[in-house]
Amino acid sequence: MPRPFRTVVGRLPQILLIAGALVLMLRTERFFTPGTLASILTQASIVGVLAIGQTFVLIGGGFDLSQGAALALVAATVGRLSQAEFGLAVCLAAALGMGLSLGAINGFFVSVVRTNPFVATLSTLLIFRGAAFIMLDGRPIPGVRVFQGVDSGFKLADAFVSYRGVVFVAATLLTWLVLRRTVFGQHVYALGGNAEAARLAGVRTTRLRTWTFALSGLASGLAAVLLLGWLRVAKSDIATGYELDSIAACVVGGVSLQGGRGSVLGAAAGCLLLQALRTQITMSGFPEEYRTFVTGLVILIFAAADALARRGERT
């Protein structure tokens, strides 16, 4: 392969990401307004927070399928707590603490018991979802207003910026710093890159892997807060399939499913791009059915571009 061409292929995912964003922005004038952009940020925030948690697990060489179910179980628990008239502080602490614990359960099975992450989190997906159903007796709890504050926001340059979007952006930046600048973050990259070498370099790999899953659970808890603040209904079937959306966002953002590579900024960008795409499809007047189809197509294109880029890297 000639060199310039190889350079282009090597950066294919990033080029596609930027090109995709440009096309979407230029498609309609209506699209490229502060209002539309802020609303995309808001709509992307819940899956975005899950994608941040997923990033920890993926970079560490794992996989978390239970995110959406963990979100639902946390939401059901908060629904019960709010029925019992508990306040914001208790509900928030319960949501985050429970998310962290559910994630730690995944982490325990994957890193201590050494269950395959796919099987472990597929099992807990069913368990968490089932537990949410049992906890709610199959009936939704309406009027859960304890987190409704996150659905408000402020005006910025004519656009309404919701606190949900702010939480998403803040969590992304904090995670970026943690992954790039802390011992913990660098250890996660080493764990995903070569777990055995990391262990023999003095990294407590079992503990560390458990933490990556626990943080994914924490992200599910935080996402539950955002989703409840918006929906104000606790149901056992909310956030179904969100774990796949979060993995898709990571793939589009260039986080490697083999572990060891990727950035949370990429995952967040991937999430925003997928959301922008959905918004664009809707705004262009295509029927709803096209959204799923096009989303799948885009993920496949990015995964293929990433594989092509890797192939250029090897030779």
Binding site: V183, Q186, G193, A197, L200, G202
Partner: protein
């Protein structure tokens, strides 16, 4: 080329190859003849790997020609090379551990009736092939259950199932014990007698001289020349490889006195069946033996990677029982594993992270790594070890083997531990880097560190160790000290009963 020389089976002419601007191979000519073992020598980065890849069809040369039996051929991919009768056996074997020996031998070319594999025919043909080569291997055994030497024999048998005319072996003895290597040499001599051409790549000059008929030396991508092995000497070959005289000085006299800093008493577990050992500050103690003799287990115990079942380890007179490598590292132990790629390097990361990963705790304040300090540490130690890299962000696997090893050594040297457990520190590494690493180990001893050197390289053992323990069956079979500690004595003690 002299007129009486046998015509070449494979003739390479003017082969050149560049990788992103760097010239890896510069107009190299090479003749490989039937019934000849041809050794290829050169430092890491001399172009040996590139040459092998071109012969095996894994890399296409930028220019130059390949002729087989005088007819020009093109080898666009490994399958084409195989069809022409060129088989390459790499250091990392290309076999499936979960399949049986027979299944591995038949893989991709299974005897079949319709969609069904004829298992009995497969096993019988495997048995015949192995018997013909004199390999005592059960074709029904799962490959993963075999020792590494036997697995390599399976790989050789697999290569020979086709009509192979040129067999290329890249550092075939790197993972083998002495006895296994001896058996490999017998096989290669047998193949030579059948008229097969063999290209043998090795850093071990003793092997090269014991085995080969002709020796070609590469340096900086160019061929320096080819000589009959009987008309040159190891000293001359080293001089040609390095391009300047290397200092092959004797081991400096070193006398560590004072009480034992590390004391091991009756240690059992793994293959070990009661090991006693003392190491004083400033002493290099060598451990060697055949695979499974227990020296690898000792390394695991000292580094907290596994736990002994009985016996005790005292460090400065106090019990020393690390439960995890992280704890051993904190207590002042460093371990450099033998398997550089599998256990040492983190391929997705650069020189910076690979060099500093064991020092994060010292570089961090409240969990946040101080980038300036991290870069300064990496720069300081990559300079001290003379790591040749394009920069600290260069991915480690793109470094040469010698530089990869320097990164691993620097990783631990930067922590300045009291006990170094060095497992095969110069395996598969060029002569110049090897000498630099040996001088560094001398320096550790001078600075009063304890060094446990595990090596299957008898020359290295003689060069470095103040005392050498030869293990057999989990026990110390012999202890050698200078002046009895000679290369010959070590080899003899390892292979003999």
């Amino acid at each position: 080329m002299s007129a009486e020389a046998a015509p070449a089976l494979v003739a390479l002419r003017g082969a050149s190859k560049s990788f992103s601007g760097a010239r890896a191979l510069k107009a190299v000519d090479l003749d490989l003849r039937r019934g000849e073992i041809h050794a290829l020598c050169g430092e890491n980065g001399a172009g040996k790997s590139t040459l092998i890849r071109i012969l095996g069809g894994a890399t296409r040369p930028d220019s130059g020609t390949i002729a087989i039996d005088g007819l020009p051929v093109r080898l666009p991919d490994p399958a084409a090379a195989l069809r022409r009768g060129i088989a390459v056996i790499h250091q990392e074997l290309a076999l499936v551990d979960d399949l049986t020996v027979a299944e591995n031998l038949a893989l991709g070319d299974e005897p079949r009736r319709g969609p069904w594999i004829r298992r009995r025919a497969m096993v019988e043909s495997a048995r015949a092939k192995l018997g013909e080569l004199g390999f005592a291997i059960d074709p029904r055994a799962p490959l993963g259950s075999l020792p590494i030497g036997a697995r390599q024999q399976v790989e050789i048998a697999r290569a020979l199932r086709r009509d192979v005319r040129l067999l290329v072996l890249d550092e075939p003895t790197a993972a083998l014990s002495r006895a296994e290597a001896g058996r490999l040499f017998d096989v290669l001599r047998d193949l030579r007698a059948r008229g097969i051409a063999i290209l043998y790549v090795s850093h071990h000059l003793d092997e090269v001289f014991a085995l080969s008929d002709r020796i070609t030396v590469l340096r900086d991508g160019a061929r320096i020349g080819s000589w009959p092995a009987s008309e040159t000497t190891p000293g001359e070959v080293v001089a040609r490889m390095v391009g300047q005289a290397v200092d092959v000085r004797d081991r400096p006299a070193r006398r560590a006195d004072g009480p034992a800093k590390l004391r091991i008493e009756g240690l059992r577990g793994g293959a070990l069946r009661g090991l006693d050992l003392e190491v004083a500050a400033g002493e290099v103690v060598g451990l060697t033996g055949l695979a499974g003799a227990g020296h690898e287990d000792l390394a695991s115990f000292l580094f907290g990677d596994a736990r002994p079942t009985a016996g005790r380890v005292l460090w400065d007179g106090r019990p020393f029982r690390p439960r995890h490598p992280a704890e051993a590292a904190r207590l002042g132990v460093a371990m450099v594993p033998a398997d550089r790629r599998g256990q040492g390097l983190i391929p997705s990361q650069g020189v910076l992270e690979n060099l500093t990963i064991a020092s994060y705790a010292d570089l961090a304040r409240g969990g946040w790594i101080r980038r300036g300090a991290q870069k300064a540490l990496a720069r300081q130690w990559s300079e001290r070890f003379e790591v040749a890299s394009a920069g600290l962000s260069q991915k480690v696997l793109t470094l040469s083997g010698g530089n990869q090893q320097k990164v691993l050594l620097a990783r631990w040297a930067a922590r300045d531990p009291d006990l170094f457990v060095l497992n095969e520190p110069t395996r598969g590494i060029d002569v110049k880097t090897r000498e630099a690493i040996h001088r560094w180990i001398d320096g550790l001893a001078e600075a009063g560190r304890c060094v446990l050197l595990i090596t299957s390289d008898a020359q290295e053992m003689t060069r470095l160790a103040d005392r050498c323990l030869i293990l057999r069956g989990g026990e110390v079979a012999r202890t050698l000290e200078p002046p009895a500690l000679t290369e010959h004595a070590v080899v003899a003690a390892v292979v003999e009963g």
